[in-house]
C-alpha cells in the first residue's frame, strides 16, 4: 500500500507518554492530517500528562486543559469565539474513554445534538489508565482491571459508543487505530472535509501497562484487534450510512488477540467467556455487514 500519511510533525519528541503508548501515537498521526491551524482541548486523561508539565509542552498547536466531563462543550465554546474572530480554526476535543463513554457523555451528547463544528476524538484504551487501570464502560466483558479483579472480571459488554453517536445523526463518525495509519489518516481527512458539523473519531489505543502487553507489541495488539474483528474499522455518515473500511482476510481467531494481553487472563480460566466474546464479535460484524449492505442500496425516499 502506498504510504499516504503526511510527513509533517506536530508533536515534539520527549512527551511523557509511556513506552508504546497508543494514545500518543494516535495524536501524532491525527495532527499530521489536521495541520497547525488547530486548537486541542484536553480533559482529564492520559494526555493531561503526556503533553508535559508547565512551562513545556509537546504539541505545536495550542492546548487548553479542562475538567474531565467538558471536552466537547469547551471545544464548542472555543469554536464559537474563533468563528466570531473570522477564523475557521479546527478545534479538537481529545478525550479518553472515561471522558467520552462515562463522565463526558452528557456534554458530548449535547455537542453532537447541536451538531457543533468540532472534531471529537476519543482515544480508547478501554479503562481509566491514567489513574491506574480502573474499569470504565469501555472495558470489555471478562477484562481484569484493578476494580474488576481476576475473581470478578468486568461483567458487562463494552458500551456501544459508535451506536450512541450515530443516533445523534452527526455528519461523520469513524473507528480507526494507529495500527492502520493510512485508514486512520484518510478518516481524519474525511472528517476535516466534513467541517461545518460534528465529527467523531473512535480510536482504539493500546496501553501496554494497562493491557499488560510488552511495549513493542502495542502496534501488533491493535492490529490483532482489527484482524480478529474485535475492533471493526468502519465509518458512519449522517448516522445512517455505514461503510466497513477494512475486511480482515483471513479472520484471526479471537484467542490470538486475547492471549497476547495479561488483562484478559480471566478468559484463560473460563472458556465460556471466550465463547461469549466470539459470539459478540460475530453478531456485531454481521450487523455491520447488514448496515453496510443497506447503505449501498439507493435511497427509497
Amino acid at each position: 500500500m502506498r504510504w499516504a500519511v503526511p510527513e509533517a510533525e506536530f508533536v515534539d519528541p520527549g512527551t511523557l507518554g509511556c513506552q508504546g503508548c497508543g494514545g500518543a501515537l494516535s495524536m501524532r498521526l491525527v495532527l499530521k492530517e489536521v495541520g497547525d491551524d488547530a486548537i486541542a482541548v484536553l480533559p482529564a486523561c492520559c494526555w493531561s500528562i503526556i503533553d508535559g508539565p508547565w512551562p513545556t509542552h509537546a504539541l505545536r498547536i495550542p492546548v487548553f486543559h479542562t475538567a474531565f466531563e467538558t471536552a466537547a462543550v469547551v471545544a464548542a465554546g472555543i469554536k464559537a469565539a474563533k468563528r466570531r474572530q473570522g477564523r475557521d480554526t479546527t478545534v479538537i476535543a481529545w478525550a479518553g474513554d472515561g471522558g467520552t463513554f462515562d463522565i463526558g457523555l452528557q456534554a458530548l451528547s449535547g455537542a453532537a445534538e447541536r451538531n457543533e463544528d468540532i472534531l471529537y476524538v476519543c482515544y480508547d484504551n478501554e479503562a481509566y489508565m491514567n489513574t491506574g487501570i480502573q474499569r470504565s464502560s469501555a472495558t470489555p466483558r471478562g477484562t481484569w482491571t484493578t476494580t474488576t479483579p481476576d475473581e470478578n472480571p468486568e461483567p458487562r459488554i463494552k458500551k456501544d459508543i459508535m451506536g450512541i453517536i450515530a443516533a445523534h445523526r452527526i455528519p461523520y463518525a469513524a473507528t480507526a487505530t494507529a495500527a492502520y495509519p493510512e485508514d486512520l489518516a484518510r478518516k481524519v481527512r474525511t472528517a476535516m472535509e466534513a467541517r461545518g458539523g460534528m465529527r467523531f473519531l473512535h480510536i482504539l489505543a493500546a496501553c501496554p501497562p494497562g493491557w499488560k502487553v510488552a511495549a513493542d507489541q502495542a502496534i501488533e495488539v491493535m492490529r490483532r484487534a482489527v484482524r480478529s474483528r474485535v475492533f471493526p474499522l468502519y465509518e458512519v455518515r449522517d448516522g445512517r450510512h455505514y461503510t466497513i473500511t477494512y475486511r480482515p482476510e483471513p479472520v484471526l481467531p479471537i484467542e490470538e488477540y486475547l492471549g497476547l494481553q495479561g488483562r484478559f487472563a480471566p478468559f484463560g480460566a473460563d472458556p465460556a467467556l471466550v465463547a461469549a466474546a466470539r459470539r459478540e464479535v460475530d453478531d456485531r460484524w454481521a450487523w455491520l455487514e447488514e448496515q453496510h449492505e443497506r447503505s449501498l442500496q439507493p435511497a427509497t425516499t
Binding site: V41, S48, H65, G77, I78, A80, R84, T89, A107, S109
Partner: protein, 399 residues
C-alpha cells in the same frame, strides 16, 4: 440618549449583558432566571445583540462553554440560579484558575430539597471561596448596571464576577430602568483585550500540569488580583458615576452619621430595611443601614471604619451556614475581630426559602437588637411558634 423603560430585574440583566456587548452567551433554563436567557435569545435572534448563543444541556456545560469561549478571547456571559449554580461549581473554579473574566448573573433561589424556587442567598454564598467577585443588586437598575461594572473590573484583574439578585423580589419585579446609551457604555467598557488567548500562531498550553514548585504562586496571584479588584471596584464605581450617571461603591451607608445601631443587609431585602430605618428614626431610634454591595472582595477596611464605635450591629442573613451562623454575619464578625472599638454583632437569620421579610419584621429585629444582651451565634426570626432567638432544641416547629 438613554432610554427609560419599565422592566423586571431579569430583563434588566439581559440589557446589562447586551450593553456590555457579550459576544458568546451560553445558558440553561432554570426558574427564576429563565427570563434573562429568553430575552437574550430574542435580542440575539433579532440582531439587536451581535452574539453567539449556545443552548447547552446543563449549567455545568454553560460555564464550560463560557470558559472555552473566554479562553479564546470572547466576552462571555451566562445566568443561572440555585441548583444550576451548584452544578457549575467545578467550572467556577476553572474560570478562576484559568483567569477568565466571565460574568454571570445568579438569581438567588433556595436549595432543594424540598423544592423551592423562592429567594434565599445560600446558593450564591456557598460559592464564597471559588474566587469570583460577587456583587449583590438591590434594584432593577443595579441588576443591569452591576454587569457592566463587573466586566470593567473583571477584565482588568482577569477574574470572573457574579452579580446576585433575589428570586422574584427582584427578578420578577418591574421597576423603572434607565437603559444607558450604548456609546456611553462603550466609552466606559472598552473591547475585551485579553493578555493571552488561544491562537494557533502562538501555540501555548493553558492549565496543564504544575508541580509543587508553581501551584502556590499561581494561587497567590489570584489572591493578589482579588485584592486589587477591591481598589478597582471603588475606582470603576466612581467612574460609572462620571460616565453613566450612577455612582457605585462596595459599601453603601444610609443614615449612618449618628447611628448607634446599624443594620447590615445585602440584596433586595435592603429596600425594606431602608423603610424600617426611616420608621425607627421617626420613633427617635438612632439607627442606620450599611448595605453590602460587594461580598467578594470583602470591603474589610471600610467596614471596620464605618462600624467602629457603634453600639450594636444587626446582620440580616437570608442564608445559613449550619454548624456556625448566617454567612454574612460570620464575615462581618471576622472583619471586625481585633478592632478595639468593634461593636457586638447580632446575627438574624430571616426569610429562608422566600418567606416574607416585611418592614415590621425588621422593626421587630431592631427591638430585639436593642434589648438583647447575648448575641449567641445565630438568632432565627419568624420560625413558626418561636419568638426571635437562638435554636431551641426542645421546641417542635413543624409537625
Amino acid at each position: 440618549m438613554p432610554e427609560r423603560l419599565l422592566l423586571t430585574g431579569n430583563h434588566a440583566a439581559a440589557y446589562g449583558a447586551m450593553l456590555s456587548r457579550a459576544e458568546v452567551i451560553s445558558a440553561y433554563p432554570i426558574t427564576p432566571q429563565t427570563m434573562i436567557v429568553e430575552l437574550l435569545s430574542e435580542l440575539t435572534a433579532s440582531g439587536k445583540l451581535d452574539a453567539t448563543f449556545i443552548t447547552v444541556e446543563s449549567e455545568h456545560s454553560a460555564m464550560a462553554a463560557c470558559v472555552g469561549a473566554s479562553a479564546a478571547g470572547a466576552r462571555t456571559y451566562t445566568a443561572t440560579s440555585g441548583q444550576g449554580l451548584a452544578l457549575m461549581h467545578e467550572m467556577l473554579h476553572w474560570a478562576v484558575g484559568a483567569r477568565l473574566p466571565v460574568v454571570l448573573t445568579n438569581v438567588s433561589r433556595a436549595m432543594a430539597p424540598g423544592w423551592s424556587i423562592w429567594a434565599d442567598q445560600t446558593d450564591i454564598l456557598s460559592q464564597r471561596d471559588v474566587g469570583w467577585m460577587m456583587l449583590f443588586a438591590e434594584s432593577v437598575q443595579e441588576a443591569q448596571d452591576f454587569i457592566i461594572w463587573s466586566y470593567r473590573v473583571a477584565e482588568q484583574v482577569h477574574l470572573p464576577a457574579m452579580v446576585g439578585m433575589d428570586a422574584f423580589i427582584l427578578s420578577h419585579t418591574a421597576e423603572p430602568l434607565i437603559v444607558h446609551d450604548q456609546s456611553a457604555v462603550d466609552a466606559y467598557l472598552p473591547k475585551f483585550e485579553p493578555i493571552y488567548a488561544l491562537d494557533p500562531e502562538d501555540p501555548r498550553a493553558y492549565g496543564g500540569l504544575v508541580n509543587r514548585d508553581h501551584y502556590f504562586e499561581l494561587r497567590y496571584k489570584i489572591f493578589e488580583a482579588m485584592d486589587r479588584a477591591g481598589e478597582l471596584l471603588v475606582a470603576a464605581g466612581e467612574e460609572f458615576g462620571e460616565v453613566l450617571g450612577r455612582r457605585y461603591a462596595p459599601l453603601e451607608g444610609y443614615l449612618l452619621d449618628d447611628a448607634e445601631y446599624v443594620i447590615v443587609s445585602a440584596g433586595a431585602l435592603t429596600s425594606n430595611v431602608r423603610q424600617a430605618v426611616r420608621d425607627a428614626r421617626a420613633r427617635g431610634i438612632k439607627v442606620g443601614l450599611l448595605r453590602l454591595v460587594a461580598f467578594r472582595p470583602f470591603p474589610v477596611a471600610a467596614m471596620r471604619r464605618i462600624l467602629a464605635g457603634r453600639r450594636k450591629v444587626a446582620v440580616l442573613d437570608r442564608n445559613m451556614g449550619p454548624g456556625h451562623s448566617g454567612i454574612f454575619a460570620a464575615e462581618v464578625r471576622s472583619a471586625l475581630f481585633g478592632s478595639s472599638s468593634a461593636p457586638e454583632v447580632f446575627d438574624y437569620v430571616v426569610g429562608l426559602g422566600g418567606r416574607d421579610v416585611r418592614v415590621e419584621t425588621i422593626l421587630e429585629v431592631l427591638d430585639d437588637l436593642i434589648t438583647r444582651d447575648d448575641p449567641e451565634m445565630a438568632l432565627f426570626v419568624g420560625v413558626k411558634g418561636l419568638p426571635i432567638g437562638p435554636i431551641r432544641k426542645e421546641a417542635e416547629v413543624l409537625r
